[in-house]
Symmetry: C2
Subunit: 324 residues, 2 copies
């Protein structure tokens, strides 16, 4: 059995082994740049660890694991253009370091590269992996579409928000785990359980991400605290605050969302205080726990000895206790 | 055997049969819009006709034919964003009718949709089709990259230009024909000959496209004559004009490329006259004929009765004699 850090080593070696054509550089340098930035590599690791539940050798899972990592980075490259996000993993995003056209086109080529890696999977799994990959990729685009549509809305319901993060973030974790199980030769039921484990873990993960933006420890949180607040980003906290029945709090919130000219710290402090008064940290924490426990129950049902599943359980715990 | 117009009917029926999810509309309406605009549908038709050389029933070629058509429209959606081209097939392009983010994201989802259709191909051909499709798609991105890089260069060589159009335009015709042959169960040699036929036909097609922009009949040419001249687009004609050894003509040309404030008609007339003096219409026509004849010779070698190939030969002739 392999450990999480061994899985990461496999992924890093495989990522470094990607041979990009030299020409034209505007197409391939941005891919190499983005993939070289320090990312968590959770998705490809999940694929390898899931495969490893069912067989010792994880080589067959490496192509699809790389496909997920490349695909994930493709979404970052295009999302950063669409969201006008100039920093990615502490470095200039591709459209800032190069330009928007380069980010669009290099991103397209990166999506195609993901399929090239998928196609290196064993032939016997190819159709199943291809269908899962394309279905998931389409859902992730839908999630990004909802996320953008929500920018101009003040009436997003909690349920709509949860549907959006399910599509944008959670399905990729579920599908990465399922794809690993496919290459490991798992039975249908276990594939579906691992998908559900990843899906619920992904929802918990995103709610926690929303919390870290407000309540994270500034000394360890990679980004500036309150970034989502400053950009009026629809997070689990903001969506719930907007749906409060306390009219005066809602009015205060709406004033802050439209306000300009205040010092940034003032807006962050005011909205954080409002979240505190509405007990939204507690609500978010409860929701996160709900999805996390659901995920753990699904993992528990996967039909392999409990000891084999510890690595995934520990990883899930680690993701839930992260500071950044 | 099916005729060209029967092939088009198959494609149109299949295109109309695409069922897009209803939600979110910003993702799926642009796809339906672009695919509904009147296009030539040459690429999917080539796939069906190529399959039909080797077997009567072309059903097995329909998924990959649709994949090419969807992929081609994806490239149009993204290229129009990158090229700031506001009109497509006489209608507003997607980023004008909606906005840039919508065109980026809907385009991404369209590329994924192309792979979904590819995956409906018979399993026995799937790996071969997947490899051909991804390799071709990556080359097309490379072609678009070169096309954009050439915008800021005045020293593009004829050879570089031909390499660019090979990647951007010609490989898709070759690959569409080859993919049809694959689903038709053709031997390797015939697959390669059909690829070469399409590749050379595609180069001839693009050189002709460049000529039509200048020398087309305004009453039948769909676009405004001289559009490429006004935008300083690197065409076969402009690249050759820039490489002229006649220094005074080159100086005249460079002045026009940098000039502003002149009436559009004046610039078009001046550059057309310069092309005429350098005999570039004749040169382009000769080059086009060269690639066209090469294409025809390769088709002639495909090992099926000559009568079966007439439909492709006629189509190639028609493409070379088009006015728009």
């Amino acid at each position: 059995m392999i450990t999480f850090s061994e899985a990461i080593t496999y992924i890093e070696r495989a990522t470094q082994g990607i041979r990009y054509p030299e020409q034209p550089p505007m197409l391939y340098e941005p891919m190499a740049y983005l993939l070289s930035l320090k990312g968590k590599k959770v998705r490809p690791a999940l694929a390898l660890l899931s495969c490893n539940l069912f067989r010792e050798k994880v080589d067959d899972a490496i192509p699809i694991a790389l496909a997920w990592e490349i695909f994930h980075n493709f979404t970052l490259m295009h999302d950063d253009v669409m969201d006008r996000a100039d920093i990615r993993r502490g470095q200039p995003s591709v459209h800032k370091k190069w330009n928007e056209n380069t980010a669009i086109l290099s991103g397209d080529a990166m999506l195609i590269l993901a399929y090239k890696y998928l196609a290196k999977s064993p032939v016997r799994h190819q159709r199943e992996l291809l269908d899962l990959f394309s279905a998931t990729a389409a859902e992730i685009c839908e999630g990004q579409a909802y996320d953008m549509l929500f920018e101009s809305r003040l009436d997003v319901k909690e349920e709509e928000y949860l549907h959006m993060i399910r599509l944008k973030t959670a399905v990729m974790l579920g599908a990465a785990l399922k794809s690993g199980a496919i290459t490991g030769g798992a039975p249908e039921k276990d594939k579906d359980l691992l998908y559900a484990f990843g899906l619920n873990l992904g929802i918990a993960f995103q709610i926690q991400d929303d919390m870290l933006d407000v309540y994270g420890d500034p000394s360890v949180f990679g980004k500036k605290i309150g970034g989502d607040i400053l950009s009026n980003k629809k997070t689990y906290l903001l969506v719930n605050a907007l749906n409060t029945k306390e009219e005066s709090e809602k009015a205060t919130l709406l004033r802050w969302l439209q306000a300009g000219g205040h010092p940034q710290e003032e807006k962050i402090a005011a909205i954080t205080a409002l979240y505190d008064r509405l007990l939204l940290k507690e609500k978010a924490h409860g929701k996160m726990e709900y999805y996390y426990r659901k995920a753990v129950r699904q993992l528990a049902q996967v039909n392999v000895p409990a000891g084999r599943k510890d690595v995934l359980l520990n990883l899930a715990q680690k993701l839930m206790n992260r500071n950044s």
